[in-house]
């Protein structure tokens, strides 16, 4: 393993301290317990608190700021944060209109946020994000995982909260956006947790993992590497299949937001190649991409690979996507 690393145990603390210093006009980083908040808190809006294991940067702390999150609770790498972190973040923000937890659907995140929600004295609600099309949902599984669609939930609900939306309407919008998002990822390599020091999974040089999760956890199948066009075609088909399962009607008037998200080890140029191939395939379905985001937004440490997320827009969601946002990793109009 080669990494920029001192003592692996201090990895998270050093990285978060750096984030705070690099964006000191936007962020405050708190330790013991660990949470990150906006520099200036507005307690009179719904307070959006997200969090999850570290290693997915810029998710979530990179999305704290005007028009998006108020606070984020980073756990250890790939390990959910603990309830005391969420409670401390809410206490610090002193929400007068309630706190909204945005949680990716992983059993650890769900349980830790659930315990925080039970123990905090503030009014609160939770949105569970589960946009991953790779996991075939059934009543027996933990269910679909939350992946890059989380960025769209955080951006749009953040916009509504910034513009005076109450807790109930924020929950409703978040659930609707989640329902309209579907993602699928492909890994070309494994990833290495700094503290563990060796790759999370083994994968041959000429193999890919189709349907990989953002912790390198396996997905649908292991297969031979092949031309990108054919991989992207399978990705888009998996998403369209997932939309069908959700009873989301697609027509030639459908407007889509597409995120091509890198997992941390894939060059931006390859992400744009995926975007190009995806647009060609979508035009075959007569579907229009009207908003886009290409880059590393929901990563899995140093994993090579990418995910594609499609969100079926409506006017409300499109408007909330377009409103000004000013965070460390997403900024427009402000």
């Amino acid at each position: 393993m080669k990494k920029f690393l001192n003592n692996p145990k201090n990895f998270l603390k050093e990285s978060l301290s750096g984030l705070g210093k690099a964006h000191q006009n936007l962020l405050q980083v708190h330790f013991d317990p660990t949470f990150v908040t906006r520099k200036s808190i507005n307690s009179d809006k719904v307070i959006l608190v997200s969090g999850g294991g570290s290693g997915h940067e810029p998710l979530h702390a990179g999305f704290i700021g005007h028009g998006m999150l108020d606070a984020a609770c980073p756990g250890h790498v790939f390990t959910s944060p603990t309830p005391d972190q969420m409670m401390a973040a809410v206490d610090f923000c002193k929400p007068n209109k309630g706190a909204l937890f945005i949680v990716k659907n992983y059993s650890g995140d769900v349980m830790n946020f659930e315990m925080a929600a039970e123990m905090t004295s503030y009014e609160n609600a939770t949105i569970l994000v589960n946009d991953d099309a790779a996991v075939i949902d059934s009543s027996y599984t933990t269910g679909k995982r939350g992946v890059a669609g989380t960025v769209i939930v955080e951006k749009t609900v953040g916009s509504l909260a910034e513009n005076g939306g109450d807790l109930k309407s924020c929950v409703d919008l978040g659930n609707e956006v989640n329902q309209r998002c579907s993602s699928i990822g492909v890994a070309l390599s494994s990833c290495t947790i700094p503290e563990a020091g060796k790759p999370t999974f083994d994968i041959e040089d000429d193999q890919i993992e189709f349907g990989v999760g953002i912790h390198g956890e396996p997905g649908r199948r292991r297969e031979q590497i092949r031309p990108a066009q054919t991989i992207v075609k399978d990705m888009i088909e998996a998403i369209i299949e997932d939309f069908k399962g959700k009873n989301l009607a697609l027509s030639n008037n459908t407007e889509l937001l597409m995120i091509v998200n890198g997992f941390g080890g894939t060059p931006i140029s390859e992400l744009y190649l995926i975007y190009e191939n995806a647009c060609e395939i979508l035009s075959g379905y007569q579907l229009n991409v009207v908003r886009s985001l290409v880059g590393n937004y929901t990563t899995a440490l140093d994993m090579e690979g990418a995910s594609v997320t499609l969100c079926v827009l409506n006017d409300q969601i499109k408007n909330h996507w377009d409103t000004p946002v000013h965070t460390a990793s997403l900024r427009w109009g402000a």
């Binding site: 790939f78 830790n112 563990a196 999974f201 912790h215």
Partner: protein, 205 residues
């Protein structure tokens, strides 16, 4: 109850099984289970002085809160629930085996509710639930404590092995489907290691 001694034994046993637990988690999980267990145990060790002056139920409660705030992941709230529930049901410093067995069952029930899971889903519960039932059954028999410890130890080992043939439907490996067949569940394995550490110590007493 010598909780601090048991924690030390568990720590030693977890270390001895590091490569197996880590290997299983890398194969069908996400590779952080051992690190998380280790972080929890280290945090408990750091409170030894405080804990040594406390009553048994205070010890369980303090260990539970510490695990809740240091471990994280799925195992944090689950193990924390176990200790917090044990603390609710064991108030005597020298509880009978029957009381310990009942408390263990209730604590396992707490894990089941927190994780919204049950037996047969390839998780830690595939060791904990059958072991709790076995322990309760044996605790009300005429067997000696040593004999019970010996039986529970062997039974826990068998239960952990049985998870090899289970399809994962809960937890981090549930995306794997049939590819997880042939591997023991890492959470089931680590629970067995902890149970065995305590049982083997009692057997030798």
């Amino acid at each position: 109850m010598e909780i601090l001694k048991y924690i030390a034994l568990i720590d030693q046993a977890i270390n001895e099984n590091e490569s197996e637990i880590e290997g299983l988690d890398r194969a069908i999980g996400d590779g952080d289970h051992f690190i998380n267990l280790k972080r929890g145990i280290t945090a408990i060790h750091s409170m030894t002085d405080q804990l040594s002056t406390m009553t048994v139920n205070e010890q369980f409660k303090m260990i539970g809160m510490k695990v809740l705030s240091t471990v994280g992941g799925a195992s944090g709230p689950l193990f924390a629930t176990f200790f917090l529930e044990m603390g609710k049901h064991i108030t005597d410093s020298k509880p009978s085996l029957k009381i310990i067995a009942e408390a263990f069952s209730k604590a396992v029930d707490g894990i089941k509710q927190r994780g919204k899971s049950d037996v047969g889903q390839k998780t830690m519960l595939d060791v904990l639930i059958p072991v709790a039932a076995k322990f309760e059954e044996l605790a009300s028999s005429n067997m000696s404590t040593q004999e019970i410890a010996s039986d529970v130890n062997q039974f826990a080992i068998d239960c952990a092995h049985n998870t090899k043939d289970m399809l994962p439907t809960k937890g981090r490996s549930s995306g794997l489907g049939e590819r997880a067949l042939g591997h023991m569940d890492p959470g089931a394995k680590s629970c067995q290691v902890m149970i065995s550490a305590v049982c083997q110590h009692i057997q030798g007493e």
